[in-house]
C-alpha cells in the first residue's frame, strides 16, 4: 500500500486534477473531504470518457464504434473546455471498489485484476483514506516474499 498519496477535494476543478495527473504521471487519485474521509476516485478513465459523444456514454448498448466519424479534434477540444471548470464532485466515481488495511492478499489481487489499476485503501469503520493499492504494490509485496529466480517449493 502507498501511504503518501496525492488527493483531490470534491471542490477542486477537473482542470486542477488534469494538471496534477499530468505533473505526477499518475492516472487517478482518491477524492477526500476536509477530514480525509474517502469520497470517490477521479481519474483519466472517467475524464476521457466525458470527452466522448453522449451516444457512446449512455450505457453498454451505446455506440461501440466511432471509426466512421472523422475530424473530431474540435469536438474533443470543446468537450474539454466545458469540463475543465467543473468540480470534481460532478465527475468522481463514488462506486469504485475499495479495500481495507486488513484485506487478504488474494482478495487484494482479485480486486486489482477485476476492478482497476488503482484501488483506494479505506478504513472499514471510519471510511478514512489510508492509502492506495496499485499493481506495483503487489509486485513489491511478492518480491519481498518470494525469490522470482528460485522455483517455489512444492507444497505436496
Amino acid at each position: 500500500m502507498i501511504r503518501q498519496v496525492f488527493t483531490a477535494s470534491p471542490d477542486d476543478t477537473i482542470g486542477d486534477v488534469l494538471n496534477h495527473l499530468s505533473r505526477h504521471r499518475v492516472s487517478s487519485m482518491p477524492v477526500v473531504d476536509d477530514n480525509n474521509i474517502y469520497q470517490g476516485m477521479i481519474g483519466l478513465t472517467v475524464i476521457l470518457n466525458h470527452l466522448l459523444p453522449v451516444a457512446v456514454r449512455i450505457d453498454e448498448s451505446g455506440l461501440d464504434n466511432l471509426e466512421f466519424v472523422h475530424n473530431t479534434s474540435d469536438a474533443v477540444r470543446s468537450a474539454l473546455n466545458k469540463m475543465v471548470n467543473e468540480p470534481v464532485s460532478d465527475h468522481m466515481d463514488g462506486k469504485q471498489r475499495t479495500v481495507h488495511p486488513n484485506t487478504p492478499t488474494w482478495e487484494a489481487i482479485r480486486v486489482l485484476v477485476k476492478h482497476g489499476r488503482t484501488i483506494p485503501v479505506v478504513d472499514k469503520e471510519t471510511h478514512e483514506l489510508k492509502g492506495i493499492l496499485s499493481r506495483q504494490c503487489i509486485l513489491s509485496h511478492l518480491k519481498d516474499n518470494f525469490d522470482f529466480h528460485e522455483p517455489a517449493e512444492n507444497d505436496e
Binding site: 453522449v54 457512446v56 471509426e67 466512421f68
Partner: protein, 452 residues
C-alpha cells in the same frame, strides 16, 4: 383457429378451501394488473408470482398452466432477439443511419423524415425495442454533431416504431400475440394493416414537419462535418454482415412462405437464430464457442420472455375460471352483437387502454375474450375484422403516453441518460391527441376495409 392455447373447458378448477375459481382468479389478475400499472415492482416478477398463485390456489394445475403458454410467441421473440444480438455487432444499423444522413446532406428537416423512416422499416422487420436501442444512439450522435435538439427526432422515432411495427406479424408485440393465437401469416398483416401503417406514417411525418421540421436549423460547418463521415467504416465485420443478412432473409422467407406449410413463425425465428449461431461459431474452439453462444443468448431480453410466460398463465387462469366469457357477453350485450359497433369499441378501448397500461397484458387478455365471441359472429372466420381492430388500436394506442409501449420507455430512458429528458406530461400533451387522431384515421380505415 387457436393454435397454442388449450381448450379452456378441458380443465376443471379445484380451488383451495372450496373457493369460487372465478373470484380467486379475478382477484389474482386484478392485483397483478394493479402492480403492473403502478410499476413499483418489476412486471416479470408480478406476472410469474401471479401465474404461480393461479396454480397454487388450484385455479389451474401445472399441466393446465403449461397449456396456457403460447410457446410460438416465446420462440418468435427469443429467436428474433438472438438474431439481432448477433447482427448488430456487424454495424449495419449505424451504416444505414449514417448513409441516410449523408444522402440528405445533414439537412435537419430531411433528417426528421429519414431517421423515423429507418426506424419504421426496421421496426416492421424486427422487434420495436431492439430497433430503438439500435437507432437512438446513432440519432444522438448525429444530433450532437449537428448541434440539434434530439427531442423532436426521438419523439418522431417513438411514433415511427409503433406505426412501423404495426405493419407486420413480428413488428409489434400485440401483433405477435394476435398472429400466434389466430394463426395469421406475416403477409396477412402486411396486406391488411400495412396500408394503414404507410398512410399514418406519412401523416405523422407531415405533422412533425409542421411542428418542428421547418424550424430546425444547423450550421453549414456542422453539415460539412457530417459529410466527412465514412459510413463504410461503420461496418465492423463484413463476413458477419453477410451471414446475418442471409439469415434474416431466410427467416423473413420462412415467415412469408412457412405459413402455407404449417411452419409457425416461432420455428422460423428460433431456427434462424440457431443457424446464425452456427455460422458465427464455425472454426472456433469448444471453449470459445461456449463463451460466444453464452454472450449472444444473454442478450435476449429474458425479463420480457418471462413476463410473457407469466402473463399467459395469468390470462389462462381467468379464461378457465370463466371471467373472459362473462366480459365478452357483457361487451356483446353493450354492442348488441353488431360487428361494426363491436369493432369500433375494440379499436377505441384498445387504444386508450394501451396508452395507459402496457399493451401486452391488455392484448393477451383481449385475445381469449374476442375468441369467445365466435358464435355471435358466425364462427372464427367472422372474427377477422375484430382482430385487425385489436391490432390497430393496441399498436397505435402505444403512442398515447411515454409508458404506452416498451419502445417508448426505452427511448425515454436513453434520452434521460443523454441529458435530453422527455417529460411524461410534455409527451402526453402532444402524444395523446396525436394518438387519438391516428386512431380516428385507423377507425375510418377499419370501417371501410373490414367492417363494411
Amino acid at each position: 383457429m387457436n393454435v397454442s392455447h388449450g381448450n379452456a373447458s378441458d380443465f376443471t378448477p379445484n380451488v383451495i378451501f372450496g373457493g369460487d375459481p372465478l373470484i380467486v382468479a379475478t382477484a389474482i389478475l386484478c392485483f397483478a394488473y394493479i402492480f403492473i400499472i403502478t410499476e413499483k415492482i418489476n412486471r416479470a416478477i408480478i406476472a410469474l408470482l401471479g401465474a404461480g398463485l393461479m396454480v397454487l390456489t388450484g385455479v389451474l394445475n401445472q399441466e393446465a398452466a403449461i397449456r396456457g403458454v403460447d410457446f410460438n410467441t416465446l420462440a418468435l421473440l427469443a429467436g428474433m432477439m438472438g438474431i439481432v444480438a448477433i447482427t448488430k455487432r456487424s454495424g449495419i444499423f449505424q451504416y444505414v443511419a449514417v448513409l441516410s444522413a449523408k444522402l440528405v446532406k445533414g439537412n435537419p428537416r430531411a433528417l426528421l423524415v429519414v431517421l423515423p423512416l429507418i426506424t419504421a422499416v426496421f421496426s416492421a422487420l424486427l422487434d420495436n425495442v431492439t430497433t430503438v436501442m439500435l437507432i437512438v444512439p446513432i440519432t444522438l450522435l448525429l444530433c450532437e454533431q449537428l448541434k440539434l435538439r434530439a427531442y423532436p427526432y426521438l419523439v418522431a422515432q417513438i411514433f415511427a416504431s409503433n406505426i412501423g411495427g404495426m405493419a407486420t406479424l413480428i413488428g409489434d408485440p400485440p401483433n405477435i400475440l394476435i398472429g400466434s393465437a389466430v394463426n395469421l401469416s406475416f403477409m396477412d398483416f402486411v396486406y391488411n394493416i400495412g396500408p394503414a401503417s404507410v398512410i399514418l406514417f406519412i401523416l405523422t411525418t407531415i405533422f412533425f414537419d409542421v411542428v418542428w421540421g421547418r424550424k430546425l436549423e444547423t450550421t453549414d460547418k456542422a453539415r460539412s462535418h457530417l459529410q466527412n463521415y465514412n459510413e463504410k467504416e461503420a461496418i465492423k465485420d463484413v463476413p458477419l454482415l453477410i451471414k446475418s443478412l442471409f439469415t434474416l432473409g431466410l427467416v423473413l422467407f420462412g415467415f412469408t412462405v412457412g405459413h402455407h406449410y404449417g411452419v409457425q413463425p416461432g420455428t422460423s425465428a428460433l431456427f434462424g437464430a440457431a443457424f446464425l449461431l452456427l455460422l458465427d461459431n464455425i472454426g472456433y474452439s469448444a471453449e470459445d464457442q461456449a463463451h460466444r453462444v453464452q454472450d449472444a443468448l444473454s442478450e435476449i431480453e429474458w425479463e420480457t420472455i418471462f413476463f410473457f410466460l407469466g402473463l399467459f398463465i395469468l390470462v389462462y387462469g381467468v379464461e378457465v375460471a370463466g371471467l373472459l366469457d362473462i366480459l365478452a357477453t357483457e361487451l356483446l350485450a353493450f354492442t348488441e352483437g353488431d360487428l361494426q359497433m363491436t369493432g369500433m369499441v375494440i379499436i377505441w378501448v384498445s387504444a386508450v387502454a394501451s396508452a395507459i397500461v402496457d399493451n401486452i397484458p391488455f392484448v393477451a387478455t383481449m385475445i381469449p375474450l374476442i375468441e369467445s365471441m365466435a358464435p355471435t359472429f358466425g364462427g372464427e372466420a367472422g372474427l377477422m375484422p375484430l382482430w385487425w381492430c385489436l391490432s390497430l388500436g393496441a399498436c397505435l394506442g402505444g403512442n398515447g403516453s411515454l409508458i404506452g409501449a416498451s419502445a417508448n420507455v426505452m427511448v425515454a430512458s436513453y434520452a434521460e441518460r443523454a441529458g435530453q429528458r422527455i417529460s411524461f406530461i410534455k409527451f402526453l400533451k402532444l402524444g395523446f391527441p396525436l394518438m387519438l387522431a391516428t386512431v380516428a384515421i385507423a377507425s375510418v380505415y377499419a370501417w371501410f376495409m373490414f367492417l363494411t
